[in-house]
Amino acid sequence: MNRSYFKIVFPGLFVLTGMLGCSDLDQDLPAGVENPKVVDSEFGAVSLYRGVMAMFSRRYPSYVVSTGLFTDELHDAGQVLSQYAGLIVNSVDGRGEVSNEGSYSSLHAVRNSADQAIAMLHRHGQGRYDHLISELYSVKAFSMLYLSELYCSGIPLSTVDFEEDYTYTRGYTTVELLNIIDHIFDSAISFSGDSLRYNILASIGKARTKMNLGLYTDAEAILENVVASGTYSYNLPYSSVGSSFSSHSFLNMYTVPRNEGINGLDFRVADPRVRYMFVEVSTRSGDSVFSAIKYQLQGNNPSIVIASTVEAWLMMAELTLASGTDEWIDILNNLRTDGTYTVNIAGDTLWNRGLGGIDGLKPLSKPTDHSLFVDLIFKERAFWLYLTGHRQGDLRRLIRQYERDPNSVYPTGFYGVGGATFYSRYGDRIVMPVPIQEEDQNPLYSGCISEGA
């Protein structure tokens, strides 16, 4: 009897409790969370792609503002020094008390999320979504490119492993990082198939990477194909509602500078590629604010240009200068007067593009000194690519590849904020340090390898 009991009862207990212990994932998920089973599907894969693009669209503008402040594109006009301005004037360490991880983590977030989406599209797409995979590779590579341009040498590429946990990595030097980015753009090109749109996107990114590496010949080979394919622009859309460039704080906090820190360009000249308006400010700051309105003028559906033939031609101009020909000035003037290339401002009445009129872009005269050639090309880049996140990479290249003194490239001297509220001097920083949180939490990371250009 006893034994019979045990034979019956014990298995019964296990079965009973096993049944009670069964957990239905569908029912237990918290509100707002997608069912992982749905995510792990073709629909989920495409939705993940959209998620990456949505994130990229929302977070890229803050990177643009960061680099703008760090260079001569924007000036902090707030009554209280922003974290970026604090970094610029070395009033904060940037690795300690004030977090500078906003753009850093945002760009990594895009990179990590792209990996998840790519893996899911590979699993469920069966070749049908290669063009989306190509785009995601490009988005990932651009995010890493932005990291390499804004931050110091020594950037880790930790991975959120697909269906695993995560892996921390050491910091990679800028050169190592650029080489990795180069390969990722290769993947984007190979998956682009017959899509010219994604092929050119990756190609321009790859060319930009090569330029950063100083591999001009390689860059030229890529760009010849790009410019031969006609006019192209890859625009990152974002909603005007709540976006970085239309918010109240942006309008009042940031001003379009004039010769920022002595070395900066005068962005307040009448140039259709940089648009600003005077904002009467009485509360936030004692300064007058000239707010950048380039994107607001685009209407309800503005977009930032990530890559275009304008940039390709600008790179070509630089490459022809490097090759010793004068073709570069023709390229620059063609961009200004051809009429093909715009800055995507709808309803523009000031810029009679292609006409070279008083209000338009007149043809440039060739300077007499070679160093001024470089200045002119980089100035044209600064205006054509104003507030698109290119300026920081350009300034670093001027130091790294054109051997300019950092003090002649980056703003120097006094940095004023909010009238007399805060007045300090620019610091020596030309790259942003990796946030201290990386060092705190990543056991394989021990800080920047180099903070030079």
């Binding site: 006893n2 992982p36 994130m55 999320s113």
Partner: protein
């Protein structure tokens, strides 16, 4: 020499002992041929056993071995005297398929031995023939009797009855009866002993061929070890358990102490249990910790089981009305939503070694509550009522300053902001000031409270009931000040709304029923239901509590104060708990007990700002928030305590599990039109939350009884948790405890003053579960504004998850002893424990290179936290006479809490958490959990020569330093009682000393001192000077290590004379005057060192201006039949 035999596996194993116990049962039936003389059902079973055919072939072996084989093959209990030489006689036997009784006869043949059955036919005894025969010598006499409880008259089971001078011992049976036969004629002393009772001696004369009859009345002693405690594996005598388990008889507390909830009952009565209260407003919750905190991120709350049902126990963080910053309300502790008048007993299992069988959620300890059961007989009823008042004792610290003379306005003093404005303020003097000591500005008055409770119980032998209904209503001490009242009337020309005058109200109602039904002889069922309903109303005093009102002068601060009284929050809580328990004993060897229960809570929050009318000129629109939450918990338990080997091993097997679900909903609007109470549209924010979790476990717990003096119970529980993602696995939770009753051990003679000496040890593991989805990688859709329309249908990775995440595990070792002296009049209990929490879960921030779209943190098993301490309890009854009794209890508890490890790379990781703006709580290896850290003030520099020190002019040290721990290092609890006039008047006092806790006196930071001390003043307050001299000043606040003496309660009770009581048709009635928080002594600079407005966090202790605990006095009247 008497001998005893220990039965193990059906075979006697040992031993020699000075007293006969197991064989001392009278067995008058001598069965020389193993035949049976009656046909009772039990005998039939035995007959079946003895008739079982076995085969055995043993050559030249000891009789002991042969008996062992017979027992094993026949699945029998066979006992013999292991010390007698016959067991070593060598015999040979070879039989094939013959009945056991014939095998025994064959084996014993020629050895002058015989076999007999015990009266219960449970055991075959092998003994020398002459021994047995001598006991039935007809020239001797017998003693029979009954042992009963002197107070209740109920039979006492298991008492040991011994005769002095001869070695005759027996044990009282189920009905308290006993019998000793074969006693040589003469006079003896009958000595009757049982743990928990005073030993009694009776003279008795034995005459030839007669039976003397004795009724033994045993009176209880103070020892607690005789009590039975209820665990998930069933009921067990405390003396058999190797843990220190605290038990509280609730009625004994309610009768003499001003307790209004369970927290009151637990506070200061259990060494190892600490209580920190959120504040002194009605319904404020309390944080209860057993043997220190061990979880960094997870709950440190104990789990609570009521009548077998696990009820909500975590402090309720859900506060719907706080959504959107409209306001919030602190909900009462779940433990206080149990009507104390319905409780019979509370057992507190302090650590994982005691709570191991409760499984992977019980590492913080378990509080088991058993409600009152009805007893057969005429209905009994009791009724009680309390009427009382409360107030904040003493004066508030004068930490603020009023400067100079205000010019050109209402005559008065300036405030700090006016110091620099020379036009307004003539800086001719400075005085310290405290608005809450000024009757015109004070917002604290006298509170009121009342409580009613009635219990009715009774029933027949087959159906019994107990019903308790209670109601309480408290009005808090917060009131509208005269200043605010005058201002309101002057500004708005309206009468003050009644709710605004006394905004803090707390009303509770409860009804508890227990129905016990004996369906038949083998099936009994208990059905319990508990309904609880509370309404909690209060106004928001702002984040700083009354700190805001402490700093009020006559400026803008007061304008804002008015508006704070305009905010009104209410929380309605409804709770329903029910259980059905059944005990089925049809098969004696397979008793089954099962319980299934449900605990359901529904909360509704509403907050209005302002409420009803809009009186603020700055608020353009009213705000309103509403939230609802439902929480359900289903518990099931089934076990069977299988008796083996004559009850020497009780093996309990069973299952136990809990399933919890919760749902929450919040909404708010900030555009509530004036006068509109219940908007149906216009909500701006909605949020919804859901959670669920389940745990299912299997347990096995053999309880071994070695000669009734040594008990061991190893155990093992396997838990399946509901964690999603990764490999689930089963959590293995072992335990072992040993309890050695040295004073009951044969062969050990202790001094007579020692009534009881027990040594014990226990070890075990229990767990704490992470969140059910903490392992998962989760995705959400981002459809907020700003997402481009073409990407709206998206999924974003929001949590990385950790597929390797596992529950936290606590392992605890404890050892100690219990010593009762002088017939239990002095009892000492000592326990030392060492509790280590491994795999403590930390939601560690991930490096930004691992960023995704959402949470930048991952739950990780990373911490090791140790709690090590001692508990000593001394209980004494100093005077025990008919007229006067005097005694008390002294308890001591200390605990060393330390984070011993945070990861394998501990230098790389420390966890900061700044839950307030004033101090930093930090988890650092080598320091107590959530220690308080801050940068110290190292100097001042009045750079602008303003005469006052601004915050910027305070010089802070370069780095943070450790300042103290958030939980006490230890407590001393004292309670005493005195009864005079034969118990008619009694006085009881209890209180204690708490030391070593660091409290952040944030309210002091909110005052103007020390930062804004008027530097040149010679009139700075002593308080300000004291603060300036303190080494614990920090850049964030005043952190102080706090030692506190407090008399928690005092009561004087008068039993109304019987001649009056009988006219009320009752048997007893009493009236008592009771006071709580009667006295508090501390050097704490803030308001109350034991209030903690951060009660919901594991991390922080800070008063932040929470209202101190009020002092209350009440009159209680109790009557019953």
């Amino acid at each position: 020499m008497n001998r005893t035999v220990l039965v193990w596996g059906g075979v006697a194993l040992c031993c020699i002992s000075p007293s006969v116990k197991l064989l001392s049962q009278a067995y008058p039936t001598v069965i020389q041929d193993i035949s049976l003389k009656s046909d009772s059902p039990g005998q039939n079973k035995q007959k079946e056993k003895l008739a079982k055919r076995i085969s055995i072939s043993v050559q030249d072996s000891t009789l002991k071995y042969v008996l062992y084989e017979i027992a094993r093959l026949g699945n029998l209990k066979v006992v013999y005297d292991n010390t007698d030489s016959f067991v070593r006689k060598r015999i040979s036997i070879s039989v094939d398929s013959i009945p056991i009784q014939d095998v025994l006869k064959t084996a014993l043949k020629g050895l002058d031995l015989e076999a007999s059955l015990t009266p219960d036919n449970a055991t075959v005894i092998v003994s020398r023939r002459d021994t047995v025969r001598s006991e039935v010598n007809q020239t001797k006499g017998n003693i029979t009797g009954t042992v009963i409880d002197s107070a209740t008259g109920s039979p006492v089971v298991g008492a040991t009855i011994a005769l002095s001078g001869i070695n005759k011992v027996t044990v009282s049976g189920k009905d308290g009866k006993f019998s000793i036969a074969g006693i040589p004629i003469g006079s003896y002393r009958l000595i009757v002993r049982l743990l928990g009772y005073k030993t009694q001696q009776y003279p008795v004369s034995v005459e030839a061929n007669k039976s003397a009859t004795v009724t033994v009345k045993l009176a209880t002693t103070a020892t607690a070890l005789a009590e039975v405690v209820t665990t998930v594996t069933g009921q067990q005598r405390k003396l058999e358990i190797g843990n220190s388990i605290a038990s509280i008889n609730v009625d004994s507390i309610i009768g003499i102490a001003p307790v209004s909830n369970l927290t009151d009952i637990l506070e200061n009565r259990v060494p190892g249990l600490t209580v920190q209260r959120a504040g002194g407003r009605p319904g404020d919750p309390a944080r209860i910790r057993l043997r220190g905190s061990s979880s960094i991120n997870n709950s440190n709350d104990v789990i609570i089981v009521v009548d077998g049902v696990r009820v909500e126990s975590e402090l309720n963080r859900f506060s719907a009305a706080s959504q959107g910053g409209v306001g919030s309300i602190m909900s009462a502790s779940p433990i206080d939503q149990i009507d104390i008048n319905s409780i019979e007993k509370i057992d507190i299992f302090k650590g994982p070694s005691a709570a191991a069988m409760y499984g992977s959620d019980a590492a913080n300890g378990v509080i088991v509550i058993t409600t009152k059961r009805g007893k057969a007989g005429p209905s009994k009823w009791t009724f009680s009522t309390d009427q009382g008042l409360s107030y904040i004792p003493g004066e508030f610290p004068e930490g603020t300053f009023r400067f100079g003379t205000l010019m050109g306005m209402i005559p008065g003093r300036c405030n700090v902001t006016e110091v620099g404005a020379a036009v307004l303020c003539d800086l001719d003097s400075v005085i310290s000031y405290q608005a809450l000591n000024d009757p015109y500005f004070n917002i604290l008055g006298k509170g009121r409270g009342q409580q009613y409770s009635a219990t009715v119980s009774g029933g027949s032998s087959n159906a019994r009931f107990s019903i308790t209904g209670s109601q309480s209503y408290d009005i808090g001490v917060v009131k509208l000040s005269h200043y605010l009242s005058d201002r309101f009337v002057a500004m708005y020309g309206k009468d003050i709304p009644s709710w605004m005058e006394r905004p803090d109200r707390y009303k509770t109602m409860s009804l508890s029923n227990v129905f016990s039904l004996d369906v038949n002889k083998s099936l009994a069922v208990d059905i319990t239901t508990k309904l609880y309903k509370s309404t909690q109303k209060r106004t928001s005093l702002g984040n700083g509590g009354i700190a805001h009102f402490m700093t009020q002068f006559h400026s803008d601060t007061l304008t804002a104060s008015t508006d704070r009284f305009n905010e009104s929050s209410a929380r309605n809580s409804d709770k329903f708990t029910t259980s059905i328990s059944g005990r089925w004993t049809r098969l004696e060897w397979l008793p089954i007990q099962a319980t299934i229960g449900l605990d359901r809570t529904e909360d509704t929050d509403k907050t209005y700002l302002p409420r009803g009318i809009r009186i603020s000129t700055t608020d353009s629109a009213g705000k309103y928030a509403i939230g609802r939450a439902h929480r359900n918990s289903i518990t099931y338990t089934a076990n069977s305590a299988i008796p083996l080997f004559s009850n020497r091993i009780i093996t309990t097997v069973g299952i136990n599990g809990t399933s919890n679900t919760s749902q929450g909903f919040n909404a708010r609007t900030t555009s509530l039109p004036p006068g509109v109470d219940e908007p149906t549209t216009g909500f701006q924010d909605f949020s919804r939350s859901e959670d669920s979790r389940s745990i299912n476990g299997w347990f096995l717990e053999p309880r071994l009884n070695f000669n009734s003096s040594l008990f061991a119970s190893p155990g093992f529980r396997l838990d399946q948790n509901g964690l999603q993602g990764g490999k689930a696995g089963l959590m293995r939770l072992p335990k072992l405890n040993l309890s050695w009753l040295v004073s009951e051990q044969d062969g050990i003679a202790l001094p007579e003053v020692i009534t009881l000496l027990r040594l014990r040890m226990a070890a075990g593991s229990a767990g704490v579960q992470p969140g059910i989805q903490d392992r998962l990688r989760l995705y959400r859709s981002d459809t907020t504004a700003g997402v481009p329309s073409q990407y709206l249908s998206n999924f974003m990775l929001t949590t990385i998850g950790n597929s390797k995440l596992k529950p936290e595990r606590s392992t605890e070792y404890e050892w100690g002893g219990d010593l009762d002296l002088f017939d239990g009049r002095l009892g000492i209990e000592f326990t030392q424990y060492n509790k280590v929490r491994r795999d403590a879960i930390v939601n560690i921030p991930i490096a930004p290179s691992l960023s995704i779209s959402g949470s930048a943190s991952v739950f990780t098993n990373i911490g090791v936290i140790k709690n090590y301490g001692n508990e000593i309890s001394v209980r004494g009854s100093v005077i025990e006479t008919e007229a006067i009794t005097f005694g008390g209890t002294l308890g001591f508890y200390n605990n060393l809490n330390k984070v011993t490890k945070l990861s394998t790379n501990s230098n790389k990781f420390s966890l900061n958490q700044s839950t307030t703006s004033r101090t930093v709580s930090r988890v650092v290896a080598g320091y107590p959990l959530w220690g308080v850290w801050a940068r110290p003030i190292v100097g001042y520099n009045d750079a602008d020569n303003s005469g006052s020190i601004s915050t910027e002019e305070v010089i802070l040290g370069d780095s943070t330093v450790y300042l103290g721990q958030p939980e006490p290092k230890g407590t001393i609890n004292i309670s005493s009682y005195l009864t005079v006039l034969s118990g008619r008047v009694s006085l009881s006092i209890d209180g204690g000393f708490t030391y070593g806790m660091s409290q952040t006196a944030q309210v002091m930071s909110n005052l103007n001192s020390p930062f804004n001390t008027y530097a040149n003043s010679e009139q700075a307050s002593p308080l300000s000077q004291a603060i300036a001299a303190s080494m614990n000043r920090t850049g964030y606040g005043v952190v102080q290590q706090v030692d506190t003496w407090r008399i928690n309660s005092m009561s004087v009770r008068y039993m109304i004379p019987q001649n009056i009581v009988s006219k009320l048709n009752s048997r007893s009635a009493s009236v008592s005057l009771q006071g709580s928080n009667v006295l508090m002594k501390s050097k704490y600079m803030g308001l109350d060192p034991n209030v903690n407005s951060r009660i919901y966090d594991n991390s922080q202790v800070a008063d932040e201006g929470a209202i101190p605990l009020p002092r209350s006095w009440s009159i209680r009247f109790t009557i019953g039949n």
